[in-house]
Symmetry: C2
Subunit: 333 residues, 2 copies
Amino acid sequence: MGGPAGGPGSAGQGGRRDAAELVVASRAGDRSATARLISLIERGGDGARQVARLTFPHGADAYTVGITGAPGAGKSTLSDRLIGEHRRLGDAIGVLAVDPSSPFSGGALLGDRVRMQDHTLDDGVFIRSMASRGHLGGLALATPDAIAVLAAAGITMVLVETVGVGQVEIEVAGATDTTVVVVNPGWGDAIQANKAGLLEVADVFVVNKADRPGAAETARDLDHMLDLGLGRAPDAWRPPIVAAVATTGTGVGEVWDAVARHRSYLGTSGQLVARRERRLVGQLREVLIRRLEQDIDRLEGGQAYLEVRRQVVDRIIDPYSGAASLLAQLPRG
Amino acid sequence: MGGPAGGPGSAGQGGRRDAAELVVASRAGDRSATARLISLIERGGDGARQVARLTFPHGADAYTVGITGAPGAGKSTLSDRLIGEHRRLGDAIGVLAVDPSSPFSGGALLGDRVRMQDHTLDDGVFIRSMASRGHLGGLALATPDAIAVLAAAGITMVLVETVGVGQVEIEVAGATDTTVVVVNPGWGDAIQANKAGLLEVADVFVVNKADRPGAAETARDLDHMLDLGLGRAPDAWRPPIVAAVATTGTGVGEVWDAVARHRSYLGTSGQLVARRERRLVGQLREVLIRRLEQDIDRLEGGQAYLEVRRQVVDRIIDPYSGAASLLAQLPRG
């Protein structure tokens, strides 16, 4: 660290500033500082932890909306329209487009971003894609950290869009205040959503491309599957199902209204606080697990491990005894 | 421990004996002692570790054959026939029927076991079902431990049969010296096997119920998919595809011959040693992970955790700092 300004790894403008300086600049409205902070988060390690420490206290200042669904469902186009919807009120909005599938954001996402060009000259819109750079599955932790960066920068509404419906995607998009699940008309789409676990995370369903055949049937299937959700408490929120054509803007206002209704429901029912608490407790657990995984990696890189490993492979000591003797040597702190 | 003979949890005959006594009895041919040792393994905790410590050195004395495939493919009937095949040579054989899906062995497996009745009066056959009692996913560790118990008891051939084709089942059945994958005739069965990851673990394919239509097509599909396995080294083992009708015994001799050929290939190529070493290294890692997970559980049960948790939920400290302060307090050893 502390290399010359504009050196390798520097994001250009402004040269090297430390995390604290970047946070000050970001809070003052310097969007390039905000982008640098998210890059630090994405990169992981001590830099990320430093940024998290500084911005975490502001994390609750942003309302977060997850947008998830199968590839091609029209998530980016919908996000694009929702940005427009929100900007009519004049408030700033951030979009994190999260791609756990590629180490660097690849084709699909890049193409999607192009569609958001309308907003690139709008200072009130901050769009950023995030890929999994460092650690495996690290986006589950990096995303809330990035949200805190945006919140600290005064952005009070953040859309979190994911690329597909893998486990990480659903985890990331589902860890928001309101989760919007986008499906398309067509036989089996509602069933796919169920299989993928989307029914459990959805607060609002959007049947996008509703000008195509089968939209009503898909909505009905979803409705039927929600009926079967017997575990639901009687006063629980029932996800509304909104038909939309994101490409033309039809129904987008209704989607945003449904999000607003859910937000209001969470607020009055006390569930917003409860949800966020659960998420933070989950984050703490996740960090603990990661830290202990790092311990294992460190152990496996050491000399003692090689000796224990040899003894286990030769069946001189069993894996339990071997593990115990290794763990006894693990430094703590 | 050390309760009165025949007390709760005692397996009847012989009253309470400690693990060392049970191992001595089991090695002397007392099959009820062998069964008790496997129960201890299944139960987990200190008892299991004690048994593992005593029997682990013998683990390499048994050759292990995994039998996996979708429910209803005829795995148990095939196992039954393979037992008969092996018993013709006079050597003892053990069968571990592993069911990760239910905490106690349930209907399907119990029904399957009934079919093995032919062998219940044969002292050279030890059949035992194992379910996941204690820990989540614990069967991945409990199975090799149970194999070592059988090996220590002088059983030199162990079949490991799993109920279905979930991730744990494939992990368990694939962690044997030779893995037999059972499919049935029918469109898509070969593709299902591919999707489930069975192609990667298979050393021998059995197209069971080969008297039904489509058997040749299924064999051809498998063959074709093996052709596509481009990653394979030129001198690598190519899984033979054997047609069988386990209910009548047709082709079962050929299945056992294919297993024998694979065993011989592993021996002469040096891969048996390499495979077993890899598995043991994997077991060591698994134990390390489990131990660290227990650390987390212990942390989360403590007073310090409640305080850190409160501070994180109130956004006073970030999860990284919170986790670091908790880990600093973790005792080691």
